[in-house]
Amino acid sequence: VTAARALLTVVAVLAVAAPARASEERPTMAELESETVCPVCGSTVDQSNAPIADRMRAFMRARIAAGDTKSEIKRSLVAEFGPSVVEPAPPKEGFDLLAWLLPALGLAAAAIALGVAAVRWSRRRDGDSGAGPPADPEQNGRPPGDAELERRLDEELARFEG
């Protein structure tokens, strides 16, 4: 059993690692374009029509043809344009740090609100089932009605039948 588990683990690791290695050693244009940023417009290169994005595409095509790995191509682009060219996400510093913090804070606030609501809902259900008067079999599961309303309803029915 232990050997079978070890074999499964190795197969699983290989199944994940093989495509990643292929992507690193033989990157495609689509991968590189979606993982790099146009330094002029800030969109990923595959979304950009800026002239410099055209040049970047030509550069990537030439480097792929020359056999460069994905890391090598990205390093060359960083050397030309700075680290922001391979960081589609906002930088993790200064004001831009908020772009990372706010979603996490929002999720935490939503989780807390959901938790509080769930606790309240659960308590109310407990209160409804235990504390109220015993149910009247004649009500057939319906909540007790307004006494005055029921009296008028009986009168109307009696008049109708009489």
């Binding site: 410099i52 040049r55 344009f81 700075g82």
Partner: protein, 178 residues
């Protein structure tokens, strides 16, 4: 329940107010284009030869700092005017420095050869220097006097965009030369 609702409403209003505050802080933090005071310093690798060039090394000279890129169409027409100014005033102590931004170095060198840019050319370090000057696009030109201070109004766009801008370009060079 009413109490919880009220707390929720207060929290929502506080959140919106906090976000508005952050927006105001961000707007206040953005300095925009630098137009006066000491020119932001830089030491950048040269494109036209080996080595680097710092603004500090040009103290005592008037400097025209021109931000450009090889993919910038108006920069083609502007380059000969900048080169002519550099040749005309260099004996009086003017240096034109072209700062290439968001560009491939090889494209920039090819552009410089094609448009005969003989003045010193450097390449920005990522986007650091352009951010310190607060440029909004290329081309954009700043003027630095002999004491290292920005003078005149920066020219956003080509220096030959109109007769008025060409005149301002000349006048501000004279002001920088002192």
């Amino acid at each position: 329940m009413t109490y919880a609702l009220r707390v929720g409403q207060v929290a929502a209003v506080a959140l919106v107010a906090a976000l508005l505050g952050l927006l105001a802080w961000k707007l206040a933090e953005d300095e925009g284009r630098r137009e006066s005071g000491p020119a932001p310093s830089f030491r950048l690798d040269r494109l036209d030869r080996d080595g680097s060039l710092s603004l500090a090394s040009l103290r005592g000279k008037a400097v025209v700092v021109n931000f450009w890129a090889s993919w910038c169409v108006p920069c083609r027409d502007e380059a000969p005017i900048l080169d002519a100014a550099w040749r005309k005033y260099r004996d009086r102590g003017l240096v034109v420095v072209g700062v290439d931004v968001r560009d491939f170095s090889e494209d920039a060198r090819r552009f410089a050869r094609r448009y005969r840019m003989s003045y010193p050319l450097v390449k920005d370090d990522g986007t650091r220097v352009e951010r310190e000057y607060g440029i909004t696009g290329v081309p954009e030109t700043f003027f630095v006097d002999r004491q290292g201070n920005l003078v005149g109004d920066p020219i956003a766009g080509p220096v030959d965009a109109s007769e008025e801008i060409e005149r301002r370009f000349e006048e501000t060079i004279q002001e920088a030369l002192g």
